[in-house]
Protein backbone atom coordinates (compact mmCIF):
# COMPACT_ATOMS: atom_id res chain seq x y z
CA UNK A 1 0.00 0.00 0.00
CA UNK A 2 0.97 3.61 -0.42
CA UNK A 3 2.91 5.21 2.41
CA UNK A 4 3.67 8.92 2.70
CA UNK A 5 7.05 9.62 4.25
CA UNK A 6 7.85 12.87 6.09
CA UNK A 7 10.88 14.93 5.14
CA UNK A 8 12.75 13.86 8.29
CA UNK A 9 12.76 10.24 7.07
CA UNK A 10 13.51 10.78 3.39
CA UNK A 11 17.21 10.26 4.02
CA UNK A 12 16.14 6.59 4.22
CA UNK A 13 13.63 6.42 1.34
CA UNK A 14 14.93 9.19 -0.96
CA UNK A 15 11.28 9.81 -1.80
CA UNK A 16 8.12 11.20 -0.24
CA UNK A 17 6.01 8.22 -1.28
CA UNK A 18 6.78 4.54 -1.12
CA UNK A 19 5.03 1.18 -1.17
CA UNK A 20 5.01 -1.29 1.71
CA UNK A 21 3.00 -4.33 2.69
CA UNK A 22 1.57 -5.65 5.94
CA UNK A 23 -1.64 -6.94 7.49
CA UNK A 24 -1.09 -4.67 10.48
CA UNK A 25 0.67 -1.38 11.11
CA UNK A 26 3.44 -3.30 12.89
CA UNK A 27 3.91 -5.54 9.85
CA UNK A 28 3.94 -2.56 7.52
CA UNK A 29 6.61 -0.83 9.61
CA UNK A 30 8.63 -4.05 9.60
CA UNK A 31 8.38 -4.14 5.81
CA UNK A 32 9.51 -0.53 5.63
CA UNK A 33 12.48 -1.43 7.83
CA UNK A 34 13.38 -4.32 5.54
CA UNK A 35 13.41 -1.93 2.61
CA UNK A 36 15.04 0.95 4.48
CA UNK A 37 17.10 -0.45 7.37
CA UNK A 38 16.95 1.64 10.52
CA UNK A 39 13.82 3.63 9.64
CA UNK A 40 11.53 1.84 12.12
CA UNK A 41 13.59 2.61 15.21
CA UNK A 42 13.47 6.30 14.40
CA UNK A 43 9.64 6.07 14.64
CA UNK A 44 9.01 3.35 17.24
CA UNK A 45 11.04 2.85 20.41
CA UNK A 46 12.37 -0.35 21.95
CA UNK A 47 9.20 -0.72 24.06
CA UNK A 48 7.06 -0.74 20.88
CA UNK A 49 5.72 2.76 21.52
CA UNK A 50 5.29 5.22 18.67
CA UNK A 51 7.73 8.00 19.43
CA UNK A 52 6.47 11.20 21.01
CA UNK A 53 6.84 13.41 17.98
CA UNK A 54 5.73 10.94 15.31
CA UNK A 55 2.12 10.65 14.15
CA UNK A 56 0.73 7.91 11.93
CA UNK A 57 -2.58 8.25 10.09
CA UNK A 58 -4.48 5.51 8.23
CA UNK A 59 -7.04 6.84 5.77
CA UNK A 60 -6.98 10.16 7.60
CA UNK A 61 -7.47 8.85 11.14
CA UNK A 62 -4.67 8.88 13.67
CA UNK A 63 -3.53 5.43 14.81
CA UNK A 64 -1.90 4.77 18.18
CA UNK A 65 -1.90 0.97 18.13
CA UNK A 66 0.69 -0.94 16.14
CA UNK A 67 -1.74 -3.89 15.99
CA UNK A 68 -4.18 -1.84 13.86
CA UNK A 69 -5.21 -4.06 10.89
CA UNK A 70 -4.51 -2.74 7.43
CA UNK A 71 -6.06 -3.44 4.02
CA UNK A 72 -4.28 -3.25 0.69
CA UNK A 73 -6.21 -0.14 -0.35
CA UNK A 74 -5.38 1.81 2.82
CA UNK A 75 -3.21 4.87 2.69
CA UNK A 76 -0.72 5.32 5.51
CA UNK A 77 0.65 8.77 6.25
CA UNK A 78 3.60 9.22 8.58
CA UNK A 79 3.95 12.76 9.88
CA UNK A 80 6.32 14.74 12.06
CA UNK A 81 4.17 16.09 14.88
CA UNK A 82 3.65 19.86 14.88
CA UNK A 83 5.31 19.92 18.25
CA UNK A 84 7.90 22.59 17.73
CA UNK A 85 5.70 25.64 17.22
Amino acid sequence: MRVLIPSALRSYTQTGHTEAQGATLAALLADLDRQYPGIRFRMVDEQERIRRHIRIFVNGAQVHDLARPLATADEVVIVQALSGG
Binding site: A8, G38, F41, R42, Q47, E48, R49, R51, H53, I54
Partner: protein
Amino acid sequence: MATPRKKTAARNPRNVTVLVATRKGAWLIHGDTARKTWKADGPHFLGHVISHLVLDPRDGRTLLAAAKTGHLGPTVFRSTDRGRSWKEAKQPPAFAKAADGKGRSVDHTFWLTPGPASESDVWYAGTSPQGLFRSADGGVTWSPFSTLNDDPQFREWMGTAQDGTPDGPKLHSVIIDPRNAAHLYVAMSGGGVHESVDRGRTWKTLIRGLDVVEGFGFDASKPTFHDPHCLRLCPTNPDRIYQQNHCGIYRIDRPSDTWVRIGKAMPKTVGDIGFPLVVHPRDDNTAWVFPMDGTSVWPRTSPGGKPAVYGTRNGGKTWQRLATGLPQQQAWWTVKRQAMCSDAHDTVGLYFGTTSGELWLSRDEGRRWHCIAQHLPEIYAVETATFA
Protein backbone atom coordinates in the same frame (compact mmCIF):
# COMPACT_ATOMS: atom_id res chain seq x y z
CA MET B 1 51.97 14.18 51.29
CA ALA B 2 53.87 14.74 48.07
CA THR B 3 51.81 14.15 44.96
CA PRO B 4 53.24 11.80 42.38
CA ARG B 5 54.46 13.37 39.20
CA LYS B 6 54.39 11.18 36.14
CA LYS B 7 55.36 12.61 32.80
CA THR B 8 56.06 11.10 29.44
CA ALA B 9 57.56 12.50 26.25
CA ALA B 10 55.40 14.36 23.75
CA ARG B 11 54.55 13.07 20.31
CA ASN B 12 55.74 14.83 17.19
CA PRO B 13 53.29 17.53 16.13
CA ARG B 14 50.69 16.33 13.65
CA ASN B 15 47.63 17.87 12.10
CA VAL B 16 44.81 18.17 14.58
CA THR B 17 41.18 17.96 13.57
CA VAL B 18 38.62 19.28 16.04
CA LEU B 19 35.42 17.24 16.05
CA VAL B 20 32.61 19.60 16.95
CA ALA B 21 29.20 18.18 17.90
CA THR B 22 26.37 20.69 18.11
CA ARG B 23 22.67 20.99 18.66
CA LYS B 24 22.21 21.30 14.89
CA GLY B 25 24.87 19.10 13.33
CA ALA B 26 28.57 18.25 13.35
CA TRP B 27 31.68 19.87 11.94
CA LEU B 28 35.21 18.59 11.39
CA ILE B 29 37.56 21.55 11.70
CA HIS B 30 40.92 20.68 10.22
CA GLY B 31 44.07 22.45 11.39
CA ASP B 32 47.64 22.58 10.15
CA THR B 33 50.60 21.30 12.16
CA ALA B 34 51.17 24.77 13.64
CA ARG B 35 47.51 24.97 14.68
CA LYS B 36 47.38 28.41 13.03
CA THR B 37 44.97 27.91 10.14
CA TRP B 38 41.69 26.03 10.35
CA LYS B 39 39.26 24.85 7.71
CA ALA B 40 35.70 23.81 8.53
CA ASP B 41 34.21 20.69 6.94
CA GLY B 42 30.49 20.60 7.54
CA PRO B 43 27.77 20.60 8.46
CA HIS B 44 27.39 16.86 8.71
CA PHE B 45 23.86 15.76 9.71
CA LEU B 46 22.46 19.30 9.52
CA GLY B 47 19.52 19.59 11.91
CA HIS B 48 20.49 16.56 13.97
CA VAL B 49 21.33 16.91 17.63
CA ILE B 50 24.84 15.47 17.79
CA SER B 51 25.78 14.72 21.37
CA HIS B 52 29.23 13.30 20.72
CA LEU B 53 31.55 12.75 17.76
CA VAL B 54 34.61 10.61 18.44
CA LEU B 55 37.53 9.20 16.43
CA ASP B 56 38.69 5.66 17.07
CA PRO B 57 42.34 6.20 17.99
CA ARG B 58 43.07 2.52 17.29
CA ASP B 59 42.69 2.89 13.52
CA GLY B 60 42.75 6.67 13.10
CA ARG B 61 39.94 6.69 10.56
CA THR B 62 36.69 5.41 12.11
CA LEU B 63 34.34 8.04 13.50
CA LEU B 64 31.18 7.47 15.53
CA ALA B 65 28.48 10.13 15.93
CA ALA B 66 25.66 9.96 18.47
CA ALA B 67 22.62 11.53 16.79
CA LYS B 68 18.93 12.24 17.06
CA THR B 69 16.53 14.86 15.75
CA GLY B 70 13.69 16.72 17.35
CA HIS B 71 11.18 14.26 15.89
CA LEU B 72 13.05 11.02 15.35
CA GLY B 73 14.49 8.48 17.73
CA PRO B 74 18.20 8.19 18.47
CA THR B 75 20.82 6.47 16.41
CA VAL B 76 24.55 6.17 15.89
CA PHE B 77 26.25 6.98 12.60
CA ARG B 78 29.55 5.45 11.65
CA SER B 79 32.21 6.49 9.15
CA THR B 80 35.22 4.39 8.23
CA ASP B 81 36.71 6.99 5.89
CA ARG B 82 37.41 9.96 8.16
CA GLY B 83 33.92 11.43 7.79
CA ARG B 84 33.63 11.36 4.00
CA SER B 85 30.66 8.95 4.15
CA TRP B 86 28.42 7.69 6.94
CA LYS B 87 26.37 4.56 7.60
CA GLU B 88 23.82 4.11 10.34
CA ALA B 89 24.33 1.50 13.07
CA LYS B 90 22.24 -1.61 12.39
CA GLN B 91 21.23 -1.84 16.04
CA PRO B 92 21.68 1.42 17.94
CA PRO B 93 21.76 1.48 21.75
CA ALA B 94 18.32 0.45 23.06
CA PHE B 95 17.13 -0.87 26.40
CA ALA B 96 15.83 -4.40 26.74
CA LYS B 97 12.13 -4.68 26.00
CA ALA B 98 10.12 -4.92 29.20
CA ALA B 99 7.41 -7.57 29.43
CA ASP B 100 4.94 -5.11 30.94
CA GLY B 101 5.46 -2.49 28.23
CA LYS B 102 6.62 0.02 30.83
CA GLY B 103 10.31 -0.22 30.11
CA ARG B 104 12.59 2.71 29.39
CA SER B 105 13.55 3.88 25.94
CA VAL B 106 16.78 5.61 24.99
CA ASP B 107 16.14 9.28 24.28
CA HIS B 108 19.67 9.89 23.03
CA THR B 109 23.09 8.39 23.14
CA PHE B 110 25.13 10.94 25.03
CA TRP B 111 28.65 9.57 25.44
CA LEU B 112 30.92 7.43 23.25
CA THR B 113 34.14 5.79 24.41
CA PRO B 114 36.39 3.71 22.15
CA GLY B 115 37.51 0.48 23.79
CA PRO B 116 41.07 -0.27 24.83
CA ALA B 117 43.88 -1.01 22.39
CA SER B 118 43.59 -4.72 23.23
CA GLU B 119 39.95 -4.87 22.02
CA SER B 120 40.01 -3.39 18.54
CA ASP B 121 36.27 -3.27 17.73
CA VAL B 122 34.89 -2.55 21.19
CA TRP B 123 33.06 0.71 21.96
CA TYR B 124 31.04 1.81 24.97
CA ALA B 125 28.12 4.22 25.02
CA GLY B 126 26.29 6.07 27.77
CA THR B 127 22.74 7.22 27.20
CA SER B 128 19.94 9.41 28.46
CA PRO B 129 18.13 8.17 30.47
CA GLN B 130 21.05 6.48 32.14
CA GLY B 131 22.17 3.32 30.41
CA LEU B 132 25.43 1.63 29.51
CA PHE B 133 25.91 -0.15 26.18
CA ARG B 134 28.71 -2.01 24.47
CA SER B 135 29.50 -2.76 20.87
CA ALA B 136 31.91 -5.51 19.88
CA ASP B 137 31.79 -4.79 16.15
CA GLY B 138 32.98 -1.24 15.85
CA GLY B 139 29.64 0.40 16.62
CA VAL B 140 27.43 -1.49 14.15
CA THR B 141 25.37 -3.30 16.81
CA TRP B 142 25.01 -2.42 20.49
CA SER B 143 24.05 -4.51 23.53
CA PRO B 144 22.76 -3.26 26.89
CA PHE B 145 24.45 -3.92 30.22
CA SER B 146 21.50 -5.38 32.11
CA THR B 147 23.64 -5.53 35.28
CA LEU B 148 23.39 -1.78 35.42
CA ASN B 149 20.48 -0.74 33.18
CA ASP B 150 17.91 -3.08 34.71
CA ASP B 151 19.26 -3.54 38.22
CA PRO B 152 16.64 -2.39 40.78
CA GLN B 153 19.27 -0.74 42.97
CA PHE B 154 20.76 1.18 40.08
CA ARG B 155 17.28 2.17 38.90
CA GLU B 156 16.57 3.61 42.34
CA TRP B 157 19.83 5.56 42.25
CA MET B 158 19.09 6.85 38.74
CA GLY B 159 15.74 8.25 39.84
CA THR B 160 13.34 9.67 37.30
CA ALA B 161 13.77 12.16 34.48
CA GLN B 162 13.12 14.89 37.06
CA ASP B 163 16.28 13.88 38.90
CA GLY B 164 18.55 14.55 35.96
CA THR B 165 19.96 17.45 34.00
CA PRO B 166 17.51 19.71 32.11
CA ASP B 167 17.68 17.72 28.89
CA GLY B 168 17.58 14.36 30.62
CA PRO B 169 19.60 12.30 33.10
CA LYS B 170 22.78 10.90 31.60
CA LEU B 171 25.32 8.13 31.95
CA HIS B 172 28.69 9.53 30.96
CA SER B 173 32.43 9.40 31.57
CA VAL B 174 32.76 5.77 30.54
CA ILE B 175 36.42 5.13 31.32
CA ILE B 176 38.46 2.01 30.69
CA ASP B 177 41.65 1.42 32.64
CA PRO B 178 44.33 1.29 29.92
CA ARG B 179 46.12 -1.47 31.89
CA ASN B 180 43.08 -3.71 32.30
CA ALA B 181 40.18 -3.87 29.84
CA ALA B 182 37.92 -5.38 32.51
CA HIS B 183 38.30 -2.35 34.78
CA LEU B 184 35.61 0.23 34.05
CA TYR B 185 34.40 3.45 35.59
CA VAL B 186 31.08 5.15 34.78
CA ALA B 187 29.34 8.22 36.15
CA MET B 188 25.67 9.10 36.28
CA SER B 189 24.05 12.53 36.47
CA GLY B 190 22.51 11.80 38.82
CA GLY B 191 23.43 8.56 40.48
CA GLY B 192 27.09 8.73 41.43
CA VAL B 193 30.31 7.11 40.28
CA HIS B 194 30.61 3.35 39.87
CA GLU B 195 33.44 0.95 39.18
CA SER B 196 33.61 -2.58 37.81
CA VAL B 197 36.65 -4.83 37.78
CA ASP B 198 34.95 -7.66 35.89
CA ARG B 199 33.93 -5.97 32.63
CA GLY B 200 30.58 -4.80 34.00
CA ARG B 201 29.29 -8.00 35.57
CA THR B 202 29.35 -6.44 39.03
CA TRP B 203 29.68 -2.86 40.22
CA LYS B 204 30.91 -1.00 43.27
CA THR B 205 30.06 2.60 44.15
CA LEU B 206 32.88 5.11 44.36
CA ILE B 207 31.41 8.16 46.08
CA ARG B 208 33.23 8.43 49.41
CA GLY B 209 34.53 11.95 49.98
CA LEU B 210 32.12 13.57 47.53
CA ASP B 211 29.94 16.31 48.98
CA VAL B 212 26.20 16.56 48.42
CA VAL B 213 24.03 19.67 48.25
CA GLU B 214 23.96 21.12 51.74
CA GLY B 215 20.98 22.10 53.82
CA PHE B 216 18.49 19.45 52.80
CA GLY B 217 19.63 16.54 54.94
CA PHE B 218 20.82 14.48 51.98
CA ASP B 219 22.71 11.32 52.96
CA ALA B 220 26.13 11.46 51.25
CA SER B 221 26.43 7.67 51.43
CA LYS B 222 23.58 7.27 48.91
CA PRO B 223 24.46 7.51 45.18
CA THR B 224 21.06 9.09 44.51
CA PHE B 225 22.30 12.39 45.89
CA HIS B 226 25.50 12.53 43.84
CA ASP B 227 25.85 14.30 40.53
CA PRO B 228 29.26 13.81 38.93
CA HIS B 229 29.54 16.03 35.86
CA CYS B 230 32.75 14.78 34.26
CA LEU B 231 35.51 12.29 35.12
CA ARG B 232 38.92 12.13 33.44
CA LEU B 233 41.62 9.52 34.00
CA CYS B 234 45.25 10.58 33.63
CA PRO B 235 46.73 8.67 30.68
CA THR B 236 50.21 8.47 32.23
CA ASN B 237 48.93 7.58 35.69
CA PRO B 238 45.73 5.52 35.40
CA ASP B 239 45.44 5.44 39.19
CA ARG B 240 44.64 9.15 39.18
CA ILE B 241 41.21 10.43 38.20
CA TYR B 242 39.95 14.00 38.34
CA GLN B 243 36.28 14.82 38.66
CA GLN B 244 34.19 17.93 38.11
CA ASN B 245 31.07 17.41 40.19
CA HIS B 246 27.88 19.35 40.90
CA CYS B 247 29.46 19.92 44.32
CA GLY B 248 33.05 20.76 43.49
CA ILE B 249 36.27 19.57 41.87
CA TYR B 250 37.84 16.34 43.14
CA ARG B 251 40.79 14.02 42.66
CA ILE B 252 41.22 10.39 43.62
CA ASP B 253 44.43 8.36 43.69
CA ARG B 254 43.65 4.67 43.58
CA PRO B 255 43.64 2.30 45.31
CA SER B 256 42.21 4.87 47.70
CA ASP B 257 38.43 4.90 47.52
CA THR B 258 38.10 8.47 48.78
CA TRP B 259 37.80 11.57 46.64
CA VAL B 260 39.58 14.73 47.80
CA ARG B 261 37.93 18.10 47.11
CA ILE B 262 40.75 19.98 45.40
CA GLY B 263 38.33 22.68 44.27
CA LYS B 264 38.45 24.26 47.70
CA ALA B 265 41.64 25.97 46.52
CA MET B 266 39.72 27.82 43.78
CA PRO B 267 39.00 31.53 44.35
CA LYS B 268 35.92 31.91 46.53
CA THR B 269 34.40 34.45 44.13
CA VAL B 270 34.49 31.88 41.32
CA GLY B 271 33.82 28.66 43.19
CA ASP B 272 34.42 25.14 41.95
CA ILE B 273 31.18 24.36 40.13
CA GLY B 274 31.29 23.56 36.43
CA PHE B 275 30.91 20.81 33.87
CA PRO B 276 34.03 20.07 31.77
CA LEU B 277 37.43 18.95 33.02
CA VAL B 278 40.53 18.20 30.96
CA VAL B 279 43.70 16.41 32.05
CA HIS B 280 47.15 16.91 30.58
CA PRO B 281 47.98 13.99 28.27
CA ARG B 282 51.41 13.50 29.86
CA ASP B 283 51.44 15.21 33.26
CA ASP B 284 49.14 13.86 35.95
CA ASN B 285 49.49 16.99 38.08
CA THR B 286 48.03 19.26 35.41
CA ALA B 287 44.32 19.69 34.75
CA TRP B 288 41.96 22.42 33.58
CA VAL B 289 38.35 23.30 34.37
CA PHE B 290 35.85 25.88 33.16
CA PRO B 291 33.89 27.18 36.15
CA MET B 292 30.30 28.31 35.83
CA ASP B 293 27.85 30.18 38.01
CA GLY B 294 26.22 27.62 40.26
CA THR B 295 24.71 30.09 42.68
CA SER B 296 21.06 30.98 43.36
CA VAL B 297 18.97 29.53 40.48
CA TRP B 298 22.00 27.99 38.77
CA PRO B 299 22.35 30.41 35.83
CA ARG B 300 24.92 28.07 34.21
CA THR B 301 26.80 31.07 32.78
CA SER B 302 30.39 32.20 33.16
CA PRO B 303 30.68 33.68 36.67
CA GLY B 304 30.00 37.42 36.40
CA GLY B 305 29.93 37.18 32.60
CA LYS B 306 33.73 36.84 32.63
CA PRO B 307 34.65 33.46 31.16
CA ALA B 308 37.91 31.87 32.24
CA VAL B 309 39.65 28.54 32.29
CA TYR B 310 41.38 27.62 35.54
CA GLY B 311 44.39 25.34 35.54
CA THR B 312 46.38 23.50 38.18
CA ARG B 313 49.98 22.32 37.84
CA ASN B 314 50.19 20.61 41.21
CA GLY B 315 47.30 18.20 41.38
CA GLY B 316 44.84 20.80 42.63
CA LYS B 317 46.79 22.47 45.42
CA THR B 318 46.59 25.80 43.60
CA TRP B 319 44.71 27.09 40.56
CA GLN B 320 45.61 29.80 38.06
CA ARG B 321 43.10 31.92 36.11
CA LEU B 322 43.72 31.58 32.35
CA ALA B 323 41.62 34.17 30.53
CA THR B 324 43.98 36.14 28.27
CA GLY B 325 42.27 36.58 24.92
CA LEU B 326 38.83 35.69 26.21
CA PRO B 327 36.12 38.35 26.55
CA GLN B 328 36.72 40.38 29.71
CA GLN B 329 33.08 41.19 30.39
CA GLN B 330 29.46 40.66 29.29
CA ALA B 331 30.08 37.15 27.95
CA TRP B 332 27.37 34.93 29.36
CA TRP B 333 28.10 31.67 27.60
CA THR B 334 29.41 28.54 29.23
CA VAL B 335 31.00 25.23 28.24
CA LYS B 336 29.24 21.87 28.47
CA ARG B 337 30.79 18.78 30.01
CA GLN B 338 31.99 17.23 26.73
CA ALA B 339 32.94 20.52 25.08
CA MET B 340 36.53 20.92 26.29
CA CYS B 341 39.55 18.83 25.38
CA SER B 342 43.27 18.85 24.64
CA ASP B 343 45.57 17.72 21.88
CA ALA B 344 48.88 15.87 22.34
CA HIS B 345 51.32 18.48 21.02
CA ASP B 346 54.54 19.15 22.90
CA THR B 347 52.99 22.35 24.20
CA VAL B 348 49.50 21.05 24.70
CA GLY B 349 46.65 22.72 22.84
CA LEU B 350 43.41 23.26 24.71
CA TYR B 351 40.06 23.61 22.98
CA PHE B 352 36.58 24.46 24.13
CA GLY B 353 33.25 25.08 22.42
CA THR B 354 30.67 27.40 23.87
CA THR B 355 26.93 27.38 24.24
CA SER B 356 26.95 30.40 21.91
CA GLY B 357 28.66 28.47 19.11
CA GLU B 358 32.25 29.67 19.36
CA LEU B 359 35.28 27.39 19.26
CA TRP B 360 38.30 28.60 21.24
CA LEU B 361 41.90 27.37 21.13
CA SER B 362 44.96 27.91 23.27
CA ARG B 363 48.23 26.73 21.70
CA ASP B 364 50.10 27.19 24.97
CA GLU B 365 48.19 25.26 27.63
CA GLY B 366 45.78 28.05 28.45
CA ARG B 367 48.04 31.08 28.61
CA ARG B 368 46.41 32.82 25.59
CA TRP B 369 43.14 32.05 23.82
CA HIS B 370 42.06 32.50 20.20
CA CYS B 371 38.59 32.10 18.68
CA ILE B 372 38.94 29.78 15.69
CA ALA B 373 35.26 29.40 14.73
CA GLN B 374 32.10 31.29 15.52
CA HIS B 375 28.40 31.37 14.63
CA LEU B 376 28.09 27.62 14.99
CA PRO B 377 25.02 26.18 16.73
CA GLU B 378 25.21 25.54 20.47
CA ILE B 379 28.23 23.30 20.95
CA TYR B 380 27.64 20.07 22.86
CA ALA B 381 30.98 18.31 22.50
CA VAL B 382 34.51 18.94 21.28
CA GLU B 383 37.12 16.24 20.73
CA THR B 384 40.48 16.34 19.00
CA ALA B 385 41.44 13.78 16.41
CA THR B 386 44.65 12.86 14.66
CA PHE B 387 43.78 10.94 11.53
CA ALA B 388 46.05 8.14 10.33
